[in-house]
């Protein structure tokens, strides 16, 4: 081994340090850039992301009835609310709400959760909402629960007639997607 030791002494320490650090740095960058495709492939793929808009003919929906359509793999409920439901939604004080924010993609993100802000102007009787519980993603049952709105069977969240969370573990009001009435009887979601 003495030959090696002798060789060590003549080695230029700076050159070895440089090789260590350079190898290490390239190794780390290389490992990270190989890791990324492995993570990235898990994200929703192009077919899932493909432009998701649905047009729905709501001419058959009477007052007090609703229609459910599938949008981005999730159910969107389109409900023509009764006068009573509308009235109940309007009389709730904002301070009584667990989540005071409208969660309406058609409005600024800090709009208060008034009944009107859960809809679009001039169509206040129509509630168009992603019917997915904001707790862990179950589909709540309509026209049920203590507030006459939605009741989630999974862990007992209760929503009112405007889909706002009132009781139970869910943290937020159910989401209002981007939508528009393109004519008297057609809604475009997305």
């Amino acid at each position: 081994m003495s030959a090696h030791e002798a060789a060590d002494e003549t080695v230029d320490g700076n050159r070895r340090d440089f090789l260590y650090i350079a190898t290490g740095m390239v190794g780390v960058v290389g490992a990270a850039s190989v890791a990324w495709p492995f993570i990235d492939q898990m994200q929703p793929d192009a077919s899932t992301l493909a432009l998701a808009q649905v047009e729905v003919d709501v001419s058959s929906v009477q007052k007090g009835a609703s229609l459910t359509v599938k949008w981005r793999g999730k159910p969107v409920v389109i409900r023509y609310r009764t006068d009573k439901e509308l009235e109940e939604g309007k009389t709730v004080k904002l301070s009584d709400l667990k989540d005071p924010i409208a969660r309406n993609a058609n409005l600024p993100s800090d709009a208060p959760a008034t009944d009107a802000n859960r809809t679009v102007p001039k169509r206040e009787a129509w509630l168009v909402m992603v019917e997915v519980c904001t707790h862990l993603g179950c589909i709540p049952l309509g026209e049920q629960g203590e507030f006459g709105g939605w009741f989630c069977p999974c862990h007992g969240s209760q929503y009112d007639t405007a889909g706002r969370i009132r009781k139970g573990p869910a943290p937020e009001n159910m989401a209002i997607p981007k939508y528009e009435f393109t004519s008297e009887t057609v809604v475009r979601v997305g």
Binding site: M42, Q43, T48, G73, C138, I139, C154, G156, K167
Partner: protein, 433 residues
């Protein structure tokens, strides 16, 4: 693997000597499972390590065979499982072995873990052994959860929705992580595909951690009901035949009960809603996970209120994951110098109260979240936390232990009130606790 003793293996044949000089695997096996000394006073609670190893092999065997007939596609999965049940030769048997096997795997692991809590198996020098066990338990839960998604029934689908929903509770990055897990905006075909891939992979990772677990075990040696370390040769008996026979007998009894479930009540532990194909637009009227997740499910649902800045959803998820994290740190929560509950009268009492609490949580977890049940879940969850965070640390400081014998041999002698010989007869042992 055997850190405590010298190898006594002497290969008898020429081939044996040839192999031994090149790769002494037979020696390792001999030292680990034949000559390996085990405490002479092990009881049947110590046979579940062996049973667990057997169940892991069984799950892998039946799983690999099921995968030959199963189609991991959301349009085909449900029908392919029906095909396994009706068309594949003996497919019904293989599938019931696998689905009931998962439940029995968990029965065994719970007994195994409660054994550890009762006899203080987690205390020095076995903390790593215990932590490796907790990792296996986590991997088992992940495996079973993803396996349950594969038949693509209503419970599969909605269970997957709810459980991946846990991750959306994480502030800021939660939604991104959830989409990364399910590969879309809702559970669907990409989810099913990746879960199948991972469900195939994880059991082999479990097998790897089991090797580490047994390695750590063979460094420290097994505990025993007295909690006294092995001090002399009279405290132990060799693994074979003593442990092999006792383990083997326990396995046979366990398999008889397992067979009874497979042949007579194969769906007793399942849920009727999973006979209905997954429907992304309709949640079943109640969602319950497999029985082995129920206590944690109850803890999750116990938090229906915001705690300061933490909203109820994040709170529930944190409290639920926390209840598993507590298991990892038990070795440092228990302050008592005495290992076994046998000599700790108060701990023994609280241990059984804890068992009752967990069973109660499991029962509440299967009930609808209405009426008295949320309150019971909350009380049960508080007690669960108090057991680990208050009772365990405090008890170790104030409890007066019972008088302890000086050695395992003395304990056995006291119990039998007479001669200590022949060593193995009255005190059969086993391994892999």
């Amino acid at each position: 693997m055997s850190g405590m003793q010298h190898s006594t293996y002497t290969p008898k044949s020429g081939i044996g000597r040839w192999v031994d000089a090149r790769m002494p695997l037979p020696r390792l096996m001999y030292d680990s499972f034949v000559a390996y000394p085990v405490p002479r006073n092990l009881n049947y609670a110590y046979t579940f390590g062996g049973i667990l190893s057997l169940m892991l092999v069984l799950q892998i065997l039946t799983g690999v065979v099921l995968a030959m007939h199963y189609a991991a596609n959301s349009d085909l999965a449900f029908n392919s499982v029906e095909g396994i049940m009706r068309d594949v030769n003996n497919g019904w048997l293989l599938r019931y072995m696998h689905s009931t096997g998962a439940s029995f795997f968990f029965i065994a692991v719970y007994i195994h873990m409660f054994r550890g809590l009762y006899y203080g198996s987690y205390k020095a020098p076995r903390e790593l052994l215990w932590i490796l066990g907790c990792i296996i338990y986590l991997l088992m839960m992940a495996t079973a959860f993803m396996g349950y998604v594969l038949p693509w029934g209503q419970m599969s689908f909605w269970g997957a929705t709810v459980i991946t929903g846990f991750f959306s509770a994480i502030p800021l990055v939660g939604d991104w992580i959830q989409q990364l897990l399910i590969g879309g905006f809702a559970v669907g075909n990409p989810t099913l595909n990746r879960f199948f891939s991972l469900h195939y992979l994880l059991p082999f990772m479990i097998a790897g951690v089991v090797v580490l677990h047994i390695w750590a075990l063979h460094v420290a040696g097994q505990t025993n009901p007295t909690g006294i370390e092995v001090k002399s040769k009279t405290d132990t008996v060799p693994f074979s035949p003593h442990a092999t026979v006792k383990d083997g007998f326990a396995m046979i009894v366990f398999l008889f009960i397992f067979a009874y479930f497979i042949f007579y009540i194969p769906n007793f532990l399942g849920h009727a809603d999973n006979f209905v194909e997954a429907n992304p637009l309709k949640t079943p009227s109640e969602i319950v996970p497999e029985w082995y997740f129920l206590p944690f499910y109850a803890i999750l649902r116990a938090i229906t209120f915001n705690i300061g800045p933490i909203n109820s959803k994040l709170g529930g998820v944190l409290v639920m994951f926390g209840s598993i994290v507590l298991l990892f740190i038990v070795p440092w929560l228990d302050t008592s110098k005495i290992r076994s509950a046998v000599y700790r009268p108060w701990y023994k009492l609280f241990f059984w109260i804890f068992i009752a609490d967990v069973v109660m949580l499991g029962w509440v977890g299967a009930k609808p979240p209405e009426g008295i049940y949320p309150m019971l879940a909350l009380l049960g969850a508080i007690w669960y936390y108090a057991h680990f965070l208050i009772i365990l640390p405090v008890l170790g400081l104030i409890e007066t232990p019972r008088r302890m014998p000086n050695s395992i041999t003395e304990a056995v002698l006291e119990k039998n009130g007479g001669s200590a010989h022949p060593a193995g007869a009255a005190a059969a042992p086993q391994t892999k606790g």
